[in-house]
């Protein structure tokens, strides 16, 4: 089992779009996949047409165990389940902070899923507090979407120095370029510079595309409503890079077809 957080300390960088599309593509390879929507805005949950509701709310979530397990919903796609968001998750930060072993709570909550799933993808809210540390402690890898702008790159630097200060393993953090506008000279230049400056930059970029924004209309992963489109291809490319880099073993996915 592998856990992967799609995380950023900056908003509006394409986290949820990446989490939804990557989890869909992973499930298509036959891997039993769970996407956890930790963002109280519940966008990922919305994309999968599921009601943003956890059994017993944030309380049940923090307690972990059966309640969380029961909240999982099957999506429209084979091998892909969703742990929906809940508005009450907005106070997760504060709640964790007040608890003992406050930085390892999330890891504990996810433990019961390790048996059942090959891959768990976390769609994370914007945070750089105790929740961020919970996430980093809970996952094997974190993938940070990076818009090639000055501010975005600066925030990424902040994240890396935060991790170093808090003694988190920086080598498990990967990044890819998101919402890239190929017409902007600055985007192109910054990508070259960033690739030089940071380790763990995946050679894959997701352009800024209307097709991706339409996920809100179709409420589905891009590959479902626009297969073969540039948007679908760029996520496919990103997935293959992710798979190669951080999940090199692949899966022995048992597809439910071909049964006699």
């Amino acid at each position: 089992m592998t856990t992967l957080a799609i995380y950023s300390n900056k908003g509006g960088v394409g986290k949820t779009a990446a989490a939804v599309n990557l989890s869909y593509l992973a499930a298509q390879t036959g891997a039993k996949t769970l996407i956890c929507d930790l963002d109280p805005q519940s966008s990922a949950t919305y994309y999968f047409r599921v009601k943003p509701k956890l059994k017993s709310g944030a309380k049940g979530f923090i307690k972990g165990g059966k309640q969380v397990y029961k909240s999982v919903k099957g999506t429209d796609y084979e091998n892909l389940d969703l742990l929906p968001a809940d508005f009450s998750l907005r106070n997760l930060d504060v709640t964790f902070d007040r608890m003992r072993r406050s930085k390892k709570r999330l890891r504990r909550i996810l433990r019961p899923f390790r048996e059942e799933y090959d891959l768990i993808i976390l769609d994370c809210p914007v945070t750089i507090s105790v929740l961020a540390e919970n996430i980093l402690n809970a996952v094997d890898y974190a993938l940070v979407p990076l818009i090639p702008t000055t501010l975005s790159v600066r925030t990424y630097r902040q994240l890396l120095s935060f991790c170093k200060k808090k003694n988190h393993d920086v080598s498990k953090i990967y990044t890819f370029f998101s919402m890239v506008d190929r017409h902007k000279k600055m985007h192109l230049e910054l990508m070259v510079r960033a690739a030089r400056e940071f380790n763990g930059v995946l050679k894959s970029l997701v352009p800024y595309l209307a097709q991706i924004e339409k996920m809100g209309i179709y409420r589905a992963p891009v590959a479902v409503y626009a297969p073969g489109s540039l948007a679908a291809k760029s996520y496919q490319n990103l997935w293959s890079k992710v798979q190669k880099k951080i999940l090199p073993g692949g899966y022995n996915g048992k597809k439910s077809k071909n049964t006699l």
Partner: protein
């Protein structure tokens, strides 16, 4: 979470009408139908079926499951239809099946085609909350035949159990019952008139203790003739080495029965067929020896030091060429008029009803008396001979003892149905341990000898390759070492076999009745 549920669809069921009715209550979406083909495999002697396995291929994957269970145990990608275990890609599937299939070829038993039409049940958010799959199976190449089965799968979506529960109610109201059908494996085979488990080379006959000995012996011999005929028909196709092997064993058993079950037929008849079957058996001696060599190729290579492993390849290439010639010889021989006539005459003789007046001394004895007498005599002889060998272990004596053990084994198998099964099986298992030791010793002796002979028979070009000769020499040395180890193990194996407990058990089973 509710599990997948399967419902029977009655004959002439209208799928479209069913969905139309469902659409009054639920929003539905359909998906394109999928057509898949499945090929079911097993060996000629049902090695997989006998262990409740079902092996099938679909698209370019192989799947293994248990009978009456649709869960896949292992699957593996294949690029061509599998025949031997060597063709399987490395992995869990190969590991599990290797000790079961061994040298036997997989045969295609039947091909079926499945058409599945999936539907999704949607909630007001157009979210899928349950899946339905209509599934129909046909035998391939039997287009006109009716479908094997048709059923409807309900596959609930996690977290939406209420929908699944309501759908079950709906199905029940529509008259569908939950399916508890037997495995489609059986239905598919039935269509092509194949009975799973129908062939086994093991002697499987039922005798009555009071039966006349000549009648009982004919039942045994008819069974052996049946095994001969079935396998002879396949030798020509050369699918694997075991058709010939089973054929030869049936001949050997026949000869043994003729020699060991004494005085049940006229002496002239017995003598004639003993000679006839000896000559048919001899036909394939060379081919079988070559088969054994080639089956052991990997084993032999492993015995060689790594530097010489490839050097032995010319020998095996030579043996392979020799084998294909030997095979042609056997095929020609089996078709030869003389040999065809032997089997025909034999069949006529076996099917002739026994005459009222006995033609031989023991013909009218109750079979159980004869069986006890023969088995016990053989056993006593073996124990005596074995003790002599313990005093002085000579190769010739070991060889003779091996033959005697084989005869005893055959007798015990022929007459197994007359004795308590558990005890008889136990004694056979004890005997088998001794036979394994003697068999290994014999194999190693023969292999060593043959290698020596082959190296002089090989074409001159090969003989001039010093490294190949070196490899053969090294192999002979290793085989000789192994042979000595096996020889030294005889004393202990025999002492176990002739233990007081085993002797008592033999007496208990076979002596009391013989008197």
């Amino acid at each position: 979470m509710i599990n997948n549920q399967k419902f029977n669809l009655p004959d002439g069921h209208d799928e479209k009408q069913f969905i139309r009715e469902l659409a009054d209550k639920y929003a539905t979406a359909n998906e394109p139908a999928v057509v898949e083909r499945f090929t079911i495999y097993d060996t000629f002697d049902w090695r997989l079926f006998n262990r409740s396995f079902v092996l099938y291929a679909s698209a370019n994957r192989l799947f293994l499951r248990k009978l009456d269970n649709t869960d896949i145990i292992h699957s593996a990608r294949i690029s061509s239809p599998p025949v031997f275990i060597q063709d399987f890609p490395a992995g869990a599937l190969k590991k599990q099946l290797a000790p079961i299939l061994k040298m036997r070829a997989l045969l295609r038993l039947v091909e079926v085609q499945a058409r599945s039409t999936p539907y999704r049940i949607l909630n007001p958010d157009e979210k899928t909350v349950a899946r339905l799959v209509f599934e129909k199976f046909w035998p391939l190449r039997h287009k006109r035949r009716p479908a094997l089965t048709a059923h409807l799968w309900l596959r609930p979506v996690k977290g939406y159990n209420k929908y699944a529960r309501n759908l079950v109610k709906h199905f029940q109201a529509a008259g569908l019952s939950e399916s508890k059908q037997e495995d489609i494996f059986f239905k598919a085979l039935e269509l092509v008139n194949i009975k799973p488990g129908s062939y086994s080379a093991r002697v499987n006959i039922q005798l009555e203790p009071d039966m006349r000995a000549d009648k009982a012996t004919k039942i045994i011999l008819r069974f052996l003739l049946h095994v001969m005929r079935i396998n002879a028909a396949h030798i020509e196709k050369d699918l694997d080495t075991e058709f010939l092997h089973d054929f030869r064993v049936a001949i050997r058993r026949t000869r043994s029965a003729l020699g060991q079950i004494k005085n049940v037929f006229a002496a002239r008849t017995t003598d004639r067929f003993k000679k006839n079957f000896a000559s048919i058996g001899k036909l394939s001696n060379e081919l079988r020896d070559l088969d054994v060599y080639l089956l052991n190729e990997d084993h032999y290579k492993a015995l060689l030091p790594p530097v010489l492993r490839e050097e032995i390849d010319p020998l095996f290439d030579y043996l392979r060429k020799k084998r294909s010639k030997a095979l042609q010889k056997v095929i020609r021989g089996l078709k030869a008029k003389r040999n065809v006539k032997i089997l025909q005459d034999w069949e006529v003789f076996l099917n002739k009803a026994p005459q009222d007046s006995a033609t031989a001394h023991s013909a009218a004895f109750p079979v159980i008396d004869l069986a006890c007498k023969r088995i016990h005599k053989k056993y006593s002889n073996i124990v005596k001979a074995g003790h002599l060998i313990l005093k002085k272990t000579e190769d010739e004596r070991l060889h003779a003892l091996r033959i005697e053990c084989k005869k005893l084994r055959y007798l015990m198998e022929f007459f197994a149905s007359l004795f308590p099964r558990k005890k008889n099986d136990l004694l056979i298992a004890q005997l088998k341990k001794l036979q394994d030791n003697l068999g290994d010793f014999n194999d190693l002796s023969i292999q060593k000898e043959t290698l020596l002979n082959i190296s002089t028979q090989m074409p001159a070009t090969l003989q001039q390759t010093p490294k190949t000769l070196l490899a053969i020499g090294s192999l002979i040395g290793t085989l000789e070492k192994e042979r000595q180890i096996v020889k030294n193990a005889f004393a202990k194996t025999f002492t176990n076999f002739a233990s007081p407990e085993n002797q008592a058990l033999f007496r208990q089973l076979f002596v009391s009745r013989a008197k």
